[in-house]
């Protein structure tokens, strides 16, 4: 049970993130939800990559059979960078929306509906 703790956290974070996105009406809080969801998937991939007793593949003289491929870590780093870019773009959109509409409540941002 204890070793499944990261996965339990992943499920909890996913649920919290999705609930925030679906239930909150404030744009900034929705972005929080997206951030939590991104953290959930990052934690998931990092937890998958953990090998007990493994050695990071950066030591020249370590026993090579215990070295762990760093792919999940590489994936997570890429994913974090993408998450930062997305968050920045979303927040800049929120700034413009607040300037033109005077609100960040999604119920009031529906000029496009016909």
């Amino acid at each position: 049970m204890f070793w499944n703790l990261p996965y339990v956290a992943v499920v909890l974070l996913t649920v919290i993130g999705l609930a925030t996105i679906l239930l909150k009406r404030n744009l900034i809080k929705i972005f929080f939800g997206v951030g939590i969801l991104t953290s959930a998937v990052n934690l998931f991939i990092i937890a998958l990559g953990y090998r007990e007793g493994g050695i990071a593949p950066i030591y020249t003289y370590a026993a090579s059979e215990n070295m762990v491929m760093a792919t999940p870590q590489a994936l997570t780093l890429t994913s974090i960078v993408i998450g930062v870019a997305t968050t920045a773009l979303m927040l800049s959109f929120a700034v413009i929306i607040y300037k033109t509409y005077g609100t960040v409540n999604v119920d009031e941002i529906r000029e496009l509906k016909e």
């Binding site: 929705i30 991939i45 994936l75």
Partner: protein, 524 residues
């Protein structure tokens, strides 16, 4: 300039040229606006040449492999890696090559068009950077043979597209549309990454061919497939995840909209690639095939019925784009539903897939053309409201001719290309289930009705007094439209040539999962 060096590295250059061009274009823009325009044009021309060259290689010599950072470009499995393809691999087979052709052709036409259509706007230094970034991302999505790499390009294309949709910042509305698109894409992307994690956790591989060899259809694989289908169907605008399409398509600058259609189709390509090549025979193809058929049917019906009452010309066309995506899903879905039955597959399954794939090609051409004509009208008239247009046929003759070509093609009237692909779909889907075929035909008739209405209210009638100063669109815009219109007509008059040389190899590449695996992993 060593031709041999260029030839070996062509798949990498396909991505490198637009990306490099993208980030250098603001620097060139410091010199002058014209220098930037020439630079962007040169970059997209070079990209198009490389794209056609790669496609030519694929169609003459078979799948092109490119391994990044390896000693040899075709060395997919290094000898000391224990049989795992650890590097990022580009695997361009006939289906990818077709998508590359679509992307570079439409990309070239829209860049040419946007050089004058968007020249009045400010902030152009970022505009062309993001535009080239988006084209590069689409090319990456369709060329890659690696799941995580696909995700990265998917995210680049989402970010670039959202930025371009929101480009007309001053009105606020465009930002609303861009935000909607960005949220859908990001959440879709996160679920796609979950699916990648699930697959990686089970099989320790990210390479599509490697995964395809060992995948087993465990409950976790089913979960991964559900997440992938949901994410990519949302990205390609299939009902019930279509709500972002009308907003994003109508608010983006028209040249961007034409390219957004291609970006959506790249997601569609991803969906087909994962269903056919990654899962292949292991998934319960009848169920998944029917899921895709039903997504297609819903898209067709909801798209066309929502399109009819629209007052905004681009919103109307956007709903038609949703409805046309339904045809592609229907065609390829039927092919997937009979994947395991060789007799049915050869009697009509392959034809249905050819129809669906040919429709992807045709849709990119005529829908791009229609959005460009809509852009030309909006550029000259200054409104996108159908009720405030009229009598434009007197002033904008060429635009009218291009609109007629596009409208007849989307409605499936011979001799334009929409007819060729829709006929393949009707014929083969009728053999599968007559009702589906009849629904497809009814949707086609409604499409025609809707476009007759648009044609009448935009071009017919007496010239309106407020449009006295309206002129024909500028030349570069007309050239961009001519390229697409010529392809619509040529592929409509000689469909046999296109089907035999481009479409049939693409359909076979999707069906032939074992061939794909053998080509990619065979180098070991």
């Amino acid at each position: 300039m060593i031709p041999g060096f260029i030839a070996t590295n062509a798949p990498a250059l396909l991505i490198a040229v637009p990306l490099l061009g993208a980030f250098l274009s603001p620097v060139i823009g410091i010199i002058s606006r014209d220098a930037r325009a020439l630079w962007v044009l040169a970059i997209i021309t070079l990209t198009a040449i490389i794209g056609y060259f790669v496609a030519f290689l694929v169609y003459t010599e078979g799948t092109v492999l490119y391994v990044f950072g390896a000693a040899e470009t075709a060395l997919t499995v290094p000898p000391d890696s224990g049989g795992i393809p650890i590097r990022i691999i580009f695997a361009i087979d006939a289906m990818s090559a077709l998508m590359v052709i679509i992307a570079v052709t439409v990309g070239f036409a829209v860049i040419l068009y946007s050089l004058s259509s968007d020249s009045r706007r400010s902030g152009l230094e970022a505009y062309y950077t993001i535009f080239l970034l988006m084209i590069g991302a689409v090319l990456g999505m369709v060329s890659t043979g690696d799941l995580f790499n696909f995700f990265v390009f998917l995210e680049i294309s989402s970010l670039a597209s959202a930025g371009l949709v929101a480009y007309k910042v001053e009105r606020g509305l465009a930002v609303e549309a861009g935000l909607k698109y960005l949220l859908v894409s990001t959440i879709g992307g996160i679920f796609f990454l979950f699916a990648i994690g699930i697959l990686y956790g089970q099989y320790n591989a990210l390479n599509i061919a490697m995964l395809a060899e060992v995948i087993q259809w465990t409950p976790l694989d089913k979960l991964a497939l559900v997440l992938i289908i949901a994410a990519l169907a949302a990205k390609c605008g299939a009902v019930p995840m279509h709500f972002w399409t009308p907003d994003a398509y109508s608010m983006a600058p028209s040249a961007v909209t034409a390219m957004l259609v291609v970006a959506s189709q790249a997601s569609l390509y991803g969906l087909f690639r994962i269903c056919f090549t990654l899962y292949g025979m292991t998934l319960s193809y009848v169920t998944i095939g029917w899921v895709i058929i039903i997504l297609g049917l819903l898209s067709m019906i909801v798209g066309v019925t929502m399109a009819i009452p629209q007052k905004d010309i681009k919103r109307l066309m956007a709903y038609h784009a949703v409805s046309q995506t339904g045809y592609m899903l229907l065609g390829v879905g039927v092919g997937l539903a009979v994947l395991g039955d060789q007799a049915l597959l050869s009697s009509y399954g392959t034809t249905a897939m050819e129809g669906g794939i040919f429709h992807i090609f045709n849709h990119a051409m005529y829908k791009g053309l229609l959005f460009l004509t809509a852009g030309a009208i909006i550029y000259q008239v200054g409104t996108s409201d159908l009720n405030r247009m009229g009598g434009l046929g007197h002033k904008m003759k060429w635009t009218m001719i291009f609109f007629i070509i596009g409208a007849l093609a989307i409605a499936g009237i011979p001799p334009f290309n929409g007819f060729a692909s829709k006929f393949l779909i009707y014929e083969s889907v009728f053999a599968f289930s007559p009702i589906l075929s009849i629904i497809a035909m009814v949707v086609s008739i409604l499409t025609l009705a809707s476009f007759v209405k648009v044609f009448h209210s935009v071009f017919m009638g007496p010239p309106l007094p407020e449009h006295e100063n309206v002129k024909e669109a500028p030349h570069t815009m007309l050239i961009g439209m001519t390229i697409l219109a010529a392809l619509v007509i040529i592929s409509g008059i000689f469909p046999e040539f296109f089907i035999q040389n481009l479409i049939a190899p693409a359909a076979n590449a999707l069906i032939d999962q074992a061939g794909y695996i053998a080509t990619v992993l065979g180098g070991a």
